[in-house]
């Protein structure tokens, strides 16, 4: 019998794997964006699990909004990456120091 704890454990595991992905792939900005997508996926799974087991549809409405905002975020992020690559011919994170922050 699959209970709520199974789903929540799976979701926590996926979130921790993507945290490790952000540490490991800190040079490659595209893999960083993919790790962020994985995190959003695990959070959405959490929302849907709670929505299913509490018999309340509001969680799924929230997942709908999160999906829309995440699509907008990745579109703008990829546009920034393309523009950066055209200007500097590389997308390495440690070379992005134009703003001298």
């Amino acid at each position: 019998m699959i209970t709520m704890s199974h789903y929540l454990t799976f979701s926590a595991l996926l979130f921790c794997i993507s945290i490790a992905g952000i540490f490991i792939n800190r040079k490659n900005i595209l893999l960083l964006l993919m790790s962020i997508e994985l995190m959003l996926l695990s959070v959405n799974t959490n929302f849907i699990v709670f929505s299913h087991y509490s018999n309340d549809i509001t969680g799924q409405v929230f997942v709908f909004f999160i999906l829309a905002v995440a699509a907008a975020e990745s579109a703008i992020g990829l546009a920034i990456i393309v523009s950066l690559f055209r200007k500097r011919n590389s997308i390495e994170i440690n070379l992005i120091n134009k703003l001298k922050g």
Partner: protein, 194 residues
Amino acid sequence: MDIITILFYLVTSVIILSAISLIIVNNTVHAALLLVLIFFNSAILWLMLKAEFLSIVLVLVYVGAVLVLFLFVVMLLDIPVRKNSNQKLYLLFSVVTSLVMFAELYMVIFYHNFTNEVNIITSSELNNTYQIGLMLFTDYIFSFEVTAFILLVAIIAAIAINMTEKQRSLRQDPGKQILESKKSRLRIIKGNKL
């Protein structure tokens, strides 16, 4: 062991293994294809949780649009595959951090004991898409409009960031004006050469 249990363990193990290989693979194209696999299996998982509308939306919007955009950018930019140096320290640090985080989250899940908290009433007379639409267009109509505006802003921003300036444009470029020197603009001609 019923079919749902087998399906759950199959799908989650595929997702976890693909996620682990996604974060350690060096090739970005392989990573994008692994992300496609992860999203498909997550759609199956959401279907098991009776969220049919969102599972179809995940396949259509994410696999159909966002991941194709990822693949397009990866292949457009042609990033050289390169081994990272000085990786051992970061690998150790990431493993320790994620293990600590997972231990904390698992303690919360285990001691709270979510197993038999609520009884499931699955027999609803409305289907999933109808219920979401009902909520979306009554209680959350303002949030829905804001989401539409966010998507519009994303379209405009993605175009405006990548728009190249035209040659015929009369816009003045301050950098080019500052770099202009006297020698390139002014030529002294002696009178007898005319």
